[in-house]
Symmetry: C2
Subunit: 133 residues, 2 copies
Amino acid sequence: MSIEFDNNMPIYLQIMNYIKRQIVTGTLKPGDKILSVRELAAELQINPNTIQRTFQELEREEIVETRRGLGRYVTSEESKIMEIKKEMAGALLDQFINGMKELGFANQDIVSIVAEAVTQSPELGQERGVNPT
Amino acid sequence: MSIEFDNNMPIYLQIMNYIKRQIVTGTLKPGDKILSVRELAAELQINPNTIQRTFQELEREEIVETRRGLGRYVTSEESKIMEIKKEMAGALLDQFINGMKELGFANQDIVSIVAEAVTQSPELGQERGVNPT
DNA sequence: CATAGTGTACTATTTAGCTATGACAGTGAC
DNA sequence: GTCACTGTCATAGCTAAATAGTACACTATG
């Protein structure tokens, strides 16, 4: 329902990722109506202008569609959604791998660390059937 | 010699990580003298005030020590350096694992993806003998 | 038609980050 | 002492991000 904001990154970008995550995981489905600018602003306690900027960026990336006077909707193109998911996962992966290498970790170290971290953490909000590639 | 700056994150934080990485990987060794405010400002094409802020933060984290009139030096406490390394690696790991789970990936997926990514990438600037835990 | 909800636009203000510039103080070498 | 380096401080200005508030245009409903 709310977001923990990181002060070192623009809010509108963090909300963008928040929405993208909802779309990618199926919380928001293709064609679904999105909360209005004013609704989301109220829910997240953020100024409507900031939400408006968030949505403009999402529309520029063709993730949402705007119907003036009606509202905004998640794109119906599932291929676009999969593309976004791959982008986001790829960005996370690159950041992690490159970061670990910059810290001096060897390839095998990295795999081991991930494997260990994963065995110690429970399968959280696993939604069977929504898991993609 | 230079940094690719991310516009969505304060420069002084990025330079902090840049210095920390050099210390953690041994490029800068315990007790080493660090580039002066003006030197680093010139090298990175950044205003000296911004570098000054970077160093103040690093000193606050007890990673560097200042001797007025002389310059700044990497802390001699190797335990502190190891601590920083663990912090940075842990932050990277958390961000990655949590991010992937938020995207809907299962634990085993995450491990597989990392394993595959790592096999496809060469062992870059591996510095044998500097690899810690 | 009027209404309520939608997206959109505009101006003004505040704040953090960064820059530009100058000045002062401590240290070691000459 | 002088010089050249160091860290430090202070002032001013610019920009992007975010806020606050108002207003306008479009759409469906009744």
